[in-house]
Symmetry: C2
């Protein structure tokens, strides 16, 4: 049994990952902005999980949330950074508020979560798994803001990987394409009804995150069945 931190655990992929981790016997510290969503998960999953509300784009809140997680379950073996947000449409439509929200939710949170992870388990070792997106592999029409934040994450994480070479903290980068979830509720530029389910994507990811003695998955790309 390991202690694993999952961000964005209240809905969509983060929720499915949390449920899958508990089914595999792990304890999960669930972080997210909306405490009510985390409470629903606590009711479902009982004492194997704890909900910790935090805005992961704010340094003090990330620091406090990680401290609370360690107080509950000890140093984590793995951090899965799944929290994120999107705003979509042609480049001209984004408001300053939308731009700030997407950059903070995706890129800034990745940096702050990585800092805490390195601080806590950089020398002990473990895994930092980050959920990027197929939007980090290519440019996409009506997704310029989202792509910007996801390519930024990728550049940060690839650099961190070089920086961590020889350390015992491993980076795993996960690149799903569109997942069927409330993430798309405010978008009309895609039809998410044929997107992959959070459960299917989570199953592949948890298989890839299983520890083996001589090797580990570094990058996983998942596409939908068209």
């Amino acid at each position: 049994m390991s202690h694993i931190i999952v961000t964005g655990a209240g809905s969509g992929l983060g929720r499915a990952l949390t449920i899958g981790l508990v089914a595999r016997g792990h304890q999960v510290s669930m972080m997210g902005r909306r405490y009510q969503k985390l409470q629903e998960q606590e009711q479902l999953l009982g004492r194997a999980v704890v909900g910790i509300a935090a805005d992961l784009a704010r340094h003090e809140e990330v620091e406090m949330a990680f401290s609370a997680a360690v107080a509950w379950g000890g140093l984590p073996e793995m951090v899965i950074h799944c929290a994120g947000a999107g705003e979509f449409g042609p480049v001209g439509v984004y408001t300053t508020e939308q731009i700030r929200r997407v950059v903070e939710s995706n890129l800034i949170s990745t940096i702050l979560v990585a800092q805490q992870t390195v601080k806590l388990i950089g020398s002990k070792g473990g895994v930092l798994a980050s959920v990027l997106s197929s939007a980090a592999q290519a440019g996409k029409a009506n997704e310029s803001l989202y792509c910007a934040s996801k390519w930024g994450m990728r550049g940060f994480l690839e650099s961190l990987r070089v920086e961590l070479k020889g350390s015992r903290l491993r980076l795993v980068n996960l690149y799903p394409s569109g997942i069927r979830s409330e993430f798309w509720d405010n978008s009309d530029h895609v039809d998410s009804s044929n997107f992959m389910t959070p459960e299917d994507a989570a199953a592949y990811m948890l298989d890839a995150l299983e520890a083996r003695s001589s090797c580990h998955v570094t990058d996983l790309f998942i596409g939908r069945n068209d």
Copy 2:
């Protein structure tokens, strides 16, 4: 139970994939150059496998081998192209024979196997999984010939993926870094003793190749535990 074709099945990763597939209940047509190695696998695995000797760099032999596989197990659901070869050293040392061998074993075989796979199951649908290498992601000293063949494979497969868009045949590209096997027996530029085991790499790959209803792994990168 599915019928799966594995090339390079006589040793190393191909052997481990075959053993893992049989353990998961599948039938495997094993292709390779050395019939004796395939016979050893037949003795180990019994009626779940058949060995078919072929030089996969020759069009007629690939065609005959695929015909024999279909005669034995029907149309395959999946083809895993694992066969390959390496020659290493600074750029000046490669002989014409070595250059021919690496390009044929890796790149030409990939094209010929893909042609047969598209011909057989391009409309029915299925999976063509190809084992590339971390040498298809970066340039490496003392591996210029090997990298050339693996980058060539990647370019071919990425183009084929675009060409197959909308078809029911899926491409899965697998990128392990160094695997501990006889592949390295004639090399002295690396110490393969800390490379990943064929069994660990095969386990991740077979997990990633499991079918799910809404999505599929498109690319899997595996690094060794340093």
